[in-house]
């Protein structure tokens, strides 16, 4: 018996649909976390990271 026979009999046709649902739940959870649960203030430091390094260009 080949691996493909076993997998073919395993009824994995709904595999992708499960994936879709799992992905959607993950997506919803991330949105919920970022926008509802965590406060705006916690992002302020991170936002300014690129700006607190270099000297200005010579002119």
């Amino acid at each position: 018996m080949k691996l493909s026979d076993i997998m073919g009999a395993a009824g994995l046709a709904s595999w992708a649909e499960i994936g879709l649902v799992v992905s959607f739940i993950t997506f919803a959870a991330i949105v919920l976390y970022v926008f509802v649960i965590r406060s705006r203030a916690s992002y302020e430091d991170a936002r300014h990271l690129p700006l607190d390094d270099d000297p200005e260009i010579p002119s």
């Binding site: 080949k2 691996l3 493909s4 026979d5 997998m7 073919g8 994995l12 046709a13 595999w15 992708a16 499960i18 994936g19 879709l20 992905s23 993950t26 997506f27 991330i30 949105v31 976390y33 970022v34 926008f35 649960i37 965590r38 705006r40 916690s42 992002y43 430091d45 991170a46 936002r47 300014h48 990271l49 690129p50 700006l51 390094d53 270099d54 000297p55 260009i57 010579p58 002119s59």
Partner: protein
């Protein structure tokens, strides 16, 4: 606590080098692009009889040069500059940086030599042969070690969002490159993918689509998130949106690949899934675009005067446009019209010229004064570059959108009597020529703009102070132990109400201090990205590979003869797939034009698949037996003598170059390893069998009034292959087939028979 202040300098020499080669390879890639654009407008630019300048060989050179050389080096320049500064540390190892730089340039040179020579794997954007693929993997690992080593030595705890995008790039490209390039070599310059037909197509577009996603999108988004705030001198509009942008993109993108295969022999569930996820991509993409544009709020007046911001604004706008259009094209009914036409080419170029190109140019103009410690030589010239480039893009895409729509509508059109309105394919080609000339003008304008960048680079470099100052920075070392900021006190505690313990736990969970920790842990973060990418890929790939009913086998489909196999190698090597598909879609307009639609079971011996993605010329899947052998000989020798108006390159050298007979057993052995049922006797007698078949075909050509002495020439093998294409389903089934049903072969597909010739799994 005693805080140790450390002093350090950034390595900008490596950034200067990557910036320079970005420009150099960019010009090379665009120049080749201009040449292939000319070849489509006027086939004389294929310069027959030189075989190495034909469209089929140069088009892969163009795509590889602009993707891996221009965009690739630009990514490295951007990463090396921003990573050091975001982490307040120099790169992990200068040696690794240099190895990375020189290794990558050597790979590009190897590509530039092998592709015109016709050394190719025959898969779009994955043409480079296996020794180069291994070199790519090694250099990529060098880059990854250097990158993660730098993260390990950082002096800034938090990884800024740009770095997340870089991590996603490194992880995903590794996975894609390895799995799409699993091949069995047959010598140094030849190899065959372990996948065949449907599976190979599936892997290829999983790779092809995600290469766009993770080499031309995520790293450039990282660059956008760093350089755009720098140029505008204000923080990114919404850090929250950038997190959503990141995770949704990483998670969703990986699924979208099969939308490249609508109406093909790929099972419909797979392409539908690809379509659904593509439509979902609208959200993160537009979130990211708006985040970029809104970063400029309050700074819009600067856009009028600053060429850097001009480039960035147009780049991000094109990102929005192409990520709107991509999902649109993935919708099955739109794809029906757009697939195989120039519409796709216009879409790709609005992304490549607009988004990638302009973002790179903006970044380089921003970097030049900082890398050479002197003001930009001429902002006016940069301004001129911007306008030339913008006009160039518009000329290119408007004309090619028009060409795509024209082509698509003409292919599908029927007249009042129900016949194809444009039955002769070349009619649809000739209609496009004026638009192809407009593209040449647009492309030339874009290239001239890029050359102006070169002038500015040279002059800015010349004005640099000598020696360049090495700036010393200071930052405290990252403490080994890190104490989080105190958690905000829960209202549950302060209010004095009495609640169950579970409520405290839940409250703490939703306050997600744990997640803030997690953002500072690069290893865990990287693992999460890898899991997201790999899990999503497996969800899609496993069913295609293992569920048997996906590829019904067809009893009469047999392996290629040795001569046909040699002919197929010539087909691959000449890059015929760049212009011809081998996939008749189940649409009346196509079955009328080409013949019976293609079945998944017909491709089980195709290593690699050759379905193609574009029809500059007609589909070839049912070309077998359509014309006499002599027709193919004459057509290859001079296409316009047979089909006036054809834009196919002439291949007179195929009629004079001897066929490589020695490699036939080697190639057959490689195919045997891959599961193609050649016996050892078949392989031993391979060369003789090829010679015998070649003699028969050569004789037929002479009988039909053609030239003599072709029996040992390449043209004979190619003719044998073309005459075989798509004929298996009309052949009688082998006698050994156990069930004798009297079905037509087409019925046999609907009710597949189990045969031993299952090379698909």
């Amino acid at each position: 606590m005693n805080v140790q202040i450390e002093r350090f300098s950034y390595d900008d020499a490596i950034v200067r080098r990557f910036t320079l080669v970005t420009f150099v390879w960019g010009v090379v890639g665009m120049l080749v692009g201009l040449l292939v654009a000319l070849q489509l407008a006027a086939p004389v630019f294929n310069f027959p009889p030189l075989p190495w300048l034909t469209f089929g060989r140069l088009r892969p050179l163009h795509t590889n040069a602009v993707i891996f050389a221009f965009a690739g080096n630009a990514v490295f320049a951007g990463v090396y500059y921003s990573l050091q500064r975001l982490l307040k540390t120099p790169m992990f190892s200068k040696t690794l940086s240099n190895l990375h730089f020189w290794g990558w340039q050597l790979i590009i040179v190897a590509a530039a030599v092998t592709l015109p020579l016709g050394i190719t794997q025959g898969k779009e954007y994955a043409e480079l042969q296996w020794p180069i693929d291994i070199a790519i993997a090694v250099v990529w690992i060098v880059f990854a070690v250097n990158f993660f080593g730098t993260i390990a030595r950082r002096r800034e705890r938090h990884l800024y969002v740009a770095i997340w995008f870089y991590i996603a790039t490194i992880v995903t490209i590794t996975v894609l490159h390895v799995f799409n390039n699993l091949v069995v070599p047959a010598g140094l310059f030849r190899s065959y993918p372990i996948y065949a037909g449907v599976q190979d197509a599936f892997m290829q577009w999983w790779y092809g689509h995600n290469a766009v996603g993770f080499l031309l999108t995520t790293p450039f988004l990282g660059i956008m998130y760093y350089f755009m705030p720098k140029a505008a001198n204000r923080p990114v509009f919404s850090y929250r949106l950038s997190i959503i942008h990141f995770w949704t993109l990483v998670f969703i993108y990986i699924w979208a690949g099969p939308h490249h295969l609508h109406y093909t022999a790929l099972p419909a569930w797979a392409s539908t899934l690809g379509m659904l996820f593509s439509v979902m991509l609208w959200m993160p993409s537009w979130g990211g675009m708006l985040n970029g544009l809104l970063t400029l709020r309050g700074a819009w007046h600067k856009v009028a005067t600053d060429p850097v911001l001009k480039f960035f604004v147009v780049a991000v706008t094109f990102y929005g446009m192409s990520t709107f259009e991509g999902p649109l094209l993935s919708v099955r009914s739109v794809n029906l019209l757009s697939h195989y036409t120039d519409w796709t080419i216009a879409h790709v170029h609005s992304g490549a010229l607009g988004w990638v190109g302009f973002l790179v140019f903006g970044m380089i103009y921003w970097l030049l004064p900082r890398l050479y410690q002197t003001p930009l030589w001429s902002p006016k010239l940069a301004e001129a570059h911007f306008w030339l480039g913008t006009i160039g893009i518009l000329l290119y895409i408007v004309s090619i959108y028009a060409a795509g729509l024209t082509q698509g509508l003409m292919w599908l059109a029927f007249d009042e009597e129900g016949y194809l309105a444009y039955a002769d394919f070349v009619e649809t080609t000739m209609r496009l020529i004026p638009m192809y000339w407009v593209r040449v003008i647009g492309g030339a304008a874009y290239l001239v703009g890029a050359l102006l960048l070169g002038v500015n680079m040279l002059m800015t470099w010349r004005a640099r102070p000598r020696p360049l100052a090495v700036e010393v920075h200071e930052a405290p070392a990252l403490a080994r132990a890190y104490t989080d900021r105190p958690e905000p006190i829960s209202p549950l505690v302060t209010s004095g109400t009495h609640v169950a313990n579970l409520a405290y736990t839940l409250d703490r969970f939703f306050r997600t201090t744990w997640h803030r920790r997690w953002e500072r842990l690069p290893l865990l973060f990287t693992v999460m990205v890898a899991v997201a990418v790999i899990v999503a890929s497996l969800f899609e790939i496993i069913p295609t590979f293992l569920i048997k009913s996906n590829v019904p086998t067809i009893a009469s489909v047999a392996p290629y003869t040795p001569l046909e196999l040699a002919g197929r190698d010539i087909y691959l090597s000449e890059g015929c797939y760049n212009c011809h598909s081998q996939m008749v879609r189940p649409l009346r307009a196509e079955t009328e034009r080409y013949g019976e639609y293609s079945k998944p079971g017909e491709f089980v011996y195709d290593h690699p698949f050759q379905w193609g993605s574009r029809r500059i010329g007609p589909d070839l899947h049912r070309v077998g037996g359509k014309y006499p052998d002599l027709w193919h000989v004459r057509h290859m020798d001079d296409p316009r003598a047979i089909t006036p108006g054809s834009i196919m390159p002439a291949y007179p050298s195929l009629l004079t170059t001897p066929l490589d007979l020695e490699s036939i057993p080697v190639v057959m052995r490689a195919h045997q390893t891959l599961g193609v049922p050649y016996t050892d006797d078949d392989i031993v007698g391979g060369t003789d069998a090829a010679l015998a078949q070649a003699a028969t075909i050569a004789e037929a050509i002479v009988t039909q009034g053609g030239p003599e002495g072709l029996a040992d020439k390449k043209i004979i093998a190619l003719t044998a292959y073309l005459q075989r294409l798509g004929t298996d389903i009309t052949r009688p089934e082998p006698v050994a087939a156990e069930e004798e049903t009297g079905e037509t072969p087409a019925d046999a597909v609907a009710d597949p028979q189990e045969t031993s010739g299952d090379g698909a799994s």
